[in-house]
Structure formats: C-alpha cells, structure tokens
C-alpha cells in the first residue's frame, strides 16, 4: 500500500512538472515576443525592455525555463503587472477565499449526496426514488451558470428576497463575515456536483445491496441500520470516491464560473481578470495552483479507494 501511494505521489509530481512545462511554453515561449503581446503595439522600447527583464525573457529557452522554474519553487512568483504587488500576496487571499467556497460546497455536497444516493437505493422504485432520479438528471444536464441564474431569480431577486444576488466584500472583512452572502454561490456549486455523486452512489449501492454478503447479513438477523452502515456502505464507498474526486477537481472549473456570476473575490474571478489584463505572472501562478489542487484531490481519492479495499490495505 505504501509503495503504491509512493508511486501515485511520484506520478502526481510528474504531472505537475508536465503542467509547468505546458504553462511555460504556452505563455512565455510563444512564437513572437511575449512582452510585445502583453504591452500591445504602442509600447515604448524602454518599457518592452523592462518587461523582458522582469519576465526573464533573455537567454535560451531551457535557460529561461529553468530560471522560471527555480523562482516558482522558491515561491518567488514575481510581481503582478497590473497592481505592481508581489504575485504571492495578490493570489494568496483569493486562494483562501476560493478554498473556503469550495470547502463549504464539498462539506455539504459529499455527505448529502452519499446520504441521498444510499437512501434512494434502499427505496428503489418508490416515488421518492423516481422523483430524485428526475431531479438529479435535470440538474446534471443544466450548466452551472444556468443553475446559478435560476437560484438568483428564485431566492434573490425574483420570487423571494432572501439572499444577496452579488457578493460584496467590505474592505477589511473576511468572506465568511457575512455568511448569508455565501449561501447562493455555495448552493450553486452543491447543486452542480451532487447529482453525479447521487446517481453513482445509488447505482453502486444497489449493486452492493444485491450482493450475497448483504443478504447473508440480513439472514443473520442484523438490524437494517447495521446492514447498511457496516456491511453495505464500506463496500460502496471505494468506487464512489473516484467519482467524488473527479467532481471536486471539476469543481474548480465551476468555481471560475460561479465566482464570475456572483462577483465573488476568488481565484476564478482573479483568473478572468488576469487574463483580460494580460497579467502573465498572475495567470501562471493561478494555473499552477489549480493544477496542484487537481493532483492533490486525485491523490486523496486514490488513498480513500485503496483504504476502502482490505486486499490492498493488507498486502505487504
């Protein structure tokens, strides 16, 4: 098990390295002059030279790459071209905000989806099961910005006026200072990721419930609660963890859209900003951060799946 994890971690690091290469090639080593591309046609030669200096655009390609990678590894991400502040202090707070948003979504969505999935599996073919099936299918087929807009219409501007439609961060306060503002963005994300998890959980659970060992547990006279929690759930969780990881990794894409929709001050919002401003160092930093998140979530899913399988756990 340890060796397997070690291998997965190495693979994750390799993935990150490939990402860094792609990011570098796509942003700095583009044919033509990155500095020119950023500053536009009317740039003065002095300003171009200064920017080239700042972006390490001198020297051969490998030299440029390793210089850049070295800076990256020492957390020296350069300064934002737009604000002139160091990238680390520009990205840091946004990263924190987005993490909070996603954490809230994940903490609500995962247990909820596993619960609903299990529950509908236990009530297979009942009215609740059919209704849940339809709702999840509809939600899964709607893009998240549609879900977000519908929520805004329903809960913020149209029918009810319960929550603010956009996020307003009062300077000096934290995103969680006014929890009501968080409700709609979190709810949108929850509705976006849950349907898949519910559906896969239901399917896996049905399979497990039909297995011989669940029948045997019932024939042993165990209470239904024990049958489900002790005998069925641990066997269903492994396969579902993979889907949850995919959904979480996908969540970060959803975050970009949701943050834009609610004007939430997070990495997604910042990424769109940075791309529009051609703020190269910030774009690079954000893409790398997102890649790290992807790799970490998938690694976590592997750990859960492996840990849920005693064959792997007990193999020396």
């Amino acid at each position: 098990m340890r060796r397997l994890l070690f291998r997965r971690t190495l693979f994750g690091l390799f993935t990150l390295w490939v990402v860094s290469l792609v990011v570098f090639l796509a942003t700095q080593a583009l044919p033509g002059d990155a500095a020119q591309a950023i500053l536009g046609r009317e740039a003065t030669p002095e300003r171009l030279a200064a920017l080239r200096e700042q972006l390490n655009l001198g020297g051969s390609l490998p030299e440029q790459y390793f210089g850049w990678l070295g800076q990256l590894l020492s957390f020296n991400l350069g300064t934002s071209l737009a604000g002139g502040t160091p990238v680390v202090s520009a990205v840091g707070p946004m990263l924190l905000n987005s993490s909070i948003l996603m954490l809230c979504a994940a903490v609500i969505a995962i247990p909820l989806a596993i619960g609903i999935g299990t529950w509908t599996a236990l009530r297979k073919d009942s009215a609740v099961d059919h209704v849940t099936g339809i709702i999840t299918l509809v939600l899964a087929s709607l893009p998240e910005f549609v879900v977000g807009v519908l929520l805004v219409l329903l809960l913020a501007t149209g029918v009810f006026h319960l929550f603010p439609a956009v996020f307003v961060l009062v300077p000096g306060e934290q995103v969680w200072s006014n929890p009501a503002q968080l409700v709609l963005p979190v709810l949108t994300l929850v509705l976006a990721v849950s349907p898949y998890i519910i559906r896969i959980m239901r399917a896996t659970m049905l399979e497990v419930l039909e297995s011989q060992y669940v029948q045997q547990a019932r024939l042993k006279g165990l209470p239904e609660r024990t049958v489900v929690l002790r005998h069925a759930l641990p066997n269903a969780i492994g396969p579902v963890a993979q889907v949850i990881a995919l959904q979480l990794a996908w969540l970060i894409g959803g975050v970009v859209i949701v943050e834009f929709l609610f004007r939430f001050p997070g990495v997604g919002f910042q990424l769109i900003d940075a791309v529009t401003n051609r703020d190269l160092p910030v774009v690079q930093a954000l893409v790398i951060v997102i890649a790290i998140f992807y790799v970490a979530v998938n690694l976590l899913a592997d750990v859960v799946t492996l840990a849920a399988n005693p064959k792997v756990r007990t193999a020396s």
């Binding site: 045997q216 024939l219 024990t226 399988n309 007990t314």
Partner: protein
C-alpha cells in the same frame, strides 16, 4: 434420531414469483426433528434455494409468500412482526450460503462478522467465538480473527461460514449447497464438520444440494424436489434402496459410479420453468412411465412406507429397461496404438510464477486422456498450452510427431483444425449475439475460409451433438445450460477435429445433464475416432470416460497411467487421498441393473 417434536414444520408452503404469479414452490410439506439432517436434492431451478430462504422468512427479490405455514421451534413465522423475525434469524434459524467467498463481507474482519451474531458482554462473546472456531478446526488466535476473508482459503472461508451459523446455537440450520465448488478433500472436511456440529448441538438441519452422492453420505432423510414440489421424501436408506418415483430412480442412475461398474445415464430433456409447467405431473414429458392420465391431474403425495411419501400414480411399477447408447467402454488399451499428442518436458507459468513443471504425457489416438486435479493444480493451463492459448512455456508439444508452435497464430490452419477446445462455462463461452448456426460456422470459416456447404456442416454438427435442426436459428440465451454445452461441442466438431480438449465442461451443469454429455462424448469417440483430453476434478467421471489418467498436484504429474490400474492400486499418496475423500456412492442392488 429422536422422536421429539419436530424443530421445523412446513405445511403446504407456496411461494410465487411476481409479477408472473407463477408458483415457484408449491404444496410443500415437510418436518425435521432435532438432530436430524434432511437432504434436499434436485436439479438447478427446482426451487431448492427458494425453499431454503423461506425457512428464514426471507423472500428473494421478485418472490412472495403465496400461502402455507412454516413453524420453527414452535414459532409460526407468518405471525411474527419484523422485529421478531430479526430475533429469529441467526438465533433460532441460521443460514449457510452456497458460496462463502461471496457471502463473507470482503470489507470486514472475520472477528467482526462472527461477533455480530451474538449479543452480550464483549468478553463472553469473544470467548464463544473462539470456541466455535476451535470446533470447526480453525485457529482461534487474535491474528486469525483479525484476518479478512480474502486472506483465507476456500475451505477456511466455508468453515468460517459454518462457525458463523453455529455461534448462536440455533435450533435449525439451513445449508444451501455449502460444498459446491470446493475440492473433494475440502468438501470431505466440511461435511465432517457439519455432521459433528449438528450432533454436538442436537440441531436440526436442512442440507440443500444437487449432488445425490453427497446427500446420501450426510443426510438422515432425503427430499427429492422436482419443479417446485417434493416428489419423494423418506429416510435415506429407504429412498436409496426403495425409491418409488421415476425421477428419483433416474437421478440415482445419473450419479457417476466411482468404480465405473455401471454406466452413468442422464435424464433426457430438462426441467420445466415455473412459467411453463405442464398440466398434471410436471415430470410427465421426461417420464418413461407416463400415460394420458399423468398429463391431466397432478398426483398427490401418498404414504408408501413409514415417513416415506411419493407423488406418482405408478409408484408400484418398476422402470422399463433403459436404452443405452454406449453400453460399455473398452478400458483395455488397444494393441499397436500410437500417440497423437505428445508432451515432453513442459514447464509453464504466468510471469515469473511457475505453475507447471516437467510435464511428460501422451494422448493416444481414439482414446480419452483425463487430467485430474484440484483447483489451482494447473489443469487448465496445461490444456491451454496444448490448444495454443497459452504461449509462456518451454518444452515440446507435438501433434503426430510434428512440433506445435506455442501460439495458435503460428500454427498451420490444419493444425488448428485438428485440435479444438471446449470451455468450462457455456454461459460465458458463447457469444450471446450470434445464432447457433453462426456460432458453429465461426471456427469453420476461421480455418477453411468461406465454405459452400455451410448448411450441411451445421446440420451434421448439430446431429452429432444430439441437437435438433431447429436449434440452428436460436440464440444462446434461449437454450438451457446443457443445450448450450452441446452447442459448444457442435461448434468444436464442425471442423472435423481429431483432438478435442474439454475443460471441466460438465462442472457448471446438473448431474443428470452431465451424464448425458458424457454419454454423448463417448459415442462421438467411438463413431469419429476422436481423441479426448478431458479435464476434471471429479474422479468418478474419470473412471466413466477415460482410458488414461494423469493426476496433477501443484503443477506436477504425480501419477500417470491406465485408469483401471491407477485407481485399483494408487501409488501416490495424493491419489490415495483423493480417492478416500470422494463420496463412494453405491446404488442399491434393485436399481443397478437397468
């Protein structure tokens, strides 16, 4: 055997399938007394599992109780609420399922699975768990308790399942084919355990099996099920020596004789499904005694002796003489025979693991060579090497003195035509999207290209495999297990092969079907001069079909020679242990001369 009040009483039980409302089990009455083991035998689909589960007040998905009474230890199951049913399960009635590998939860330690059968102080529960483990001859230390099911062998898993059932000292235990799929030596251990546990606890038991030989060894009483009803029930000795129902008698004749003194005779046809049960006696379409009266009303259960009942109008009549297709096999080797397949110094493995070592074998033209061994002994790997399906070997395999290439792709078309392979499981080996005709033509076009007389080839192949011409248009899932395996045989015969490799081809099928297949193969051997390589773990089958036998143990041949000689005087202790572990089922005299 006690005369105490019965532990289990079933009266007129009926279980129906939904939504078809067809009766899966019907008019079923029986009783089992404390300490008594009732063996329930019948072909697959006869309703044995459905009955077994009903004794725990459990209906499989898609089935429902349709009437009747079940009472266990004085409690009427129908009158209990779900809480009382739960109390009853595991404590008063316990269940040992067919396949322990799938009935033990893979995610839980065996200590958890054993302890949860009991309630009470933890130390007391643990002590009891250790005690049962010792009783089923398993280690009782903490290290063993901490294991997961996958860390146990098949026999150990089954013994854990038995321990699990006995932990709470139930009054009744229901076992559904607990030894199917186990090796003979493991089976012998498990049966001995079951017997001693029932005796220790004076526990009533219902032992479900399709294997008459096993039931005859273990049970005090036998109930024979056919198409959802008990057609004959009585004391074991009584049912064996004085069987009254034609089905029981045919079933007894279908059991292969360990000494091969009598031929094994299958029952032609197959059992009706609950949806298409004929009116009147369900056995009528296959019954040699049937007449018009049998097809109108179903016979009621009548008493023919003490605690011996039969459902047949003609229970007094003997069976008519049977038509035997191949009355005897020539067990003496013919003079001047020559080897078709010759294997020299074969060593094979998967990756770095060696599973076969130093194999030397010959199969003679027109004879049957049996490969006998328990699961994991390398039988299938060896046969796959011969067929060119497994390339990772060193050594020499030759067909008629010309060496075969390891991979079947590198063999000539003619070599491929001459050696054909039949797989173990007919449910998996036939492509469900092709008709029987297409399936049969596949190997033909593979070795001969497009053929002009396709229709003729199919017709001959079907006839040889004793299938009807109209089977050609069917798809595999419209056929029974036995018919599917015949299609597999027809497919392999279509290329006019000389060597037929049969890998456990009867192990997924009922005894009655197994016998008809063996009979068929022997006929083909005589008519076409086929050479058979017959892989099996069943000694009785070897004695009934083969002239030569090679006994495999952990990848080595421990004994090789003529069947008669090897079994009359086994040299290797492994062969000896296999022989003693196999139930030696002997027919009562009255039946043995058909």
């Amino acid at each position: 055997m006690s005369t105490a009040a019965p532990t289990l009483e079933v009266e007129d039980l009926k279980i129906i399938g939904i939504p078809s409302m067809a009766a899966i089990v019907e008019e079923l009455s029986l009783e089992v007394r404390p300490g008594e083991i009732l063996g329930v035998v019948g072909e697959s689909g006869s309703g044995k599992t459905t009955l077994g589960l009903a004794l725990l007040n459990y209906c499989k998905e898609g089935t429902r109780l349709g009437g009747g009474k079940v009472s266990v230890a004085g409690q009427q199951l129908a009158g209990l609420n779900w809480r009382q049913v739960r109390q009853l399960r595991g404590r008063t009635v316990a269940y040992i399922p067919q396949s322990p590998a799938s009935a033990l939860n893979p995610a839980l330690r065996i200590s958890t699975q054993l302890k949860e059968c009991l309630s009470g102080p933890a130390a007391q529960v643990l002590e009891r768990v250790r005690q049962v483990l010792r009783e089923v001859a398993l280690p009782d230390d903490d290290a063993f308790l901490a294991r997961y099911p996958h860390q146990l062998s098949g026999g150990q898993q089954q013994r854990v399942a038995i321990a699990m059932a006995f932990t709470a000292r139930p009054a009744l235990i229901v076992m559904d084919e607990p030894t199917t799929g186990l090796d003979v030596s493991t089976q012998a251990h498990v049966l001995a355990t079951v017997r001693s546990m029932c005796r220790t606890y004076d526990c009533a038991a219902v032992y479900i099996s399709h294997d008459m030989a096993v039931v005859a060894e273990l049970a005090d009483r036998i109930a024979v099920m056919y198409s959802g009803r008990i057609v004959e029930m009585g004391g074991t000795a009584e049912v064996l020596s004085n069987s009254r129902h034609p089905y029981t008698r045919r079933l007894l004749l279908a059991v292969p004789d360990l000494l091969a003194k009598r031929p094994m005779i299958g029952i032609p046809g197959h059992a009706p499904s609950p949806l298409a049960r004929p009116q009147g006696c369900a056995f009528a379409p296959r019954c040699p005694l049937a007449d018009a009266g049998c097809g109108t009303v179903a016979p009621a259960a009548t008493e023919v002796g003490p605690r011996h009942t039969v459902r047949c109008f003609k229970s007094e009549q003997p069976l008519p003489p049977l038509q035997l297709r191949n009355p005897s096999i020539s067990s003496a080797p013919a003079a001047g025979r020559k080897p078709v397949i010759k294997i020299e110094g074969l060593t094979a493995g998967y990756g770095s693991k060696t599973v076969l070592e130093g194999i030397n074998l010959q199969a003679y033209a027109g004879e049957c060579l049996a490969l006998l061994g328990e699961s994991g002994s390398g039988k299938t790997t060896l046969s796959r090497c011969i067929a060119g399906l497994h390339h990772n070997y060193t050594g020499d395999i030759s067909l008629d003195n010309s060496t075969l290439a390891p991979s079947s792709f590198k063999r000539t078309k003619d070599q491929r035509r001459r050696v054909q392979y039949i797989f173990q499981n007919p449910y998996e080996s036939l492509n469900p999207r092709r008709t029987v005709e297409e399936l049969i033509l596949q190997p033909v076009t593979a070795v001969r290209g497009k053929v002009s007389n396709a229709r003729e080839i199919v017709a001959t192949a079907l006839e040889r495999a004793s299938l009807r011409p109209d089977h050609a248009r069917r798809y595999p899932d419209q056929l029974s297990g036995g018919e599917r395996q015949r299609v597999a045989i027809a497919r392999s015969l279509a290329t006019e092969p000389e060597v037929l490799i049969c890998d456990e081809i009867t192990s997924a099928l009922d005894v009655s079907v197994q016998s008809t297949l063996v009979d068929l193969l022997r006929g083909l051997q005589a008519e076409m001069g086929l050479t058979l390589v017959f892989i099996t773990h069943n000694i009785a089958l070897v004695r009934n079909i083969a002239q030569q036998v090679a006994v495999l143990e952990r990848g080595r041949i421990v004994e090789f020679g003529e069947v008669e000689r090897v079994f009359a005087d086994p040299q290797h202790h492994y062969t000896q242990s296999l022989l003693t572990a196999t139930p030696n089922f002997q027919l009562p005299d009255r039946l043995s001369t058909p």
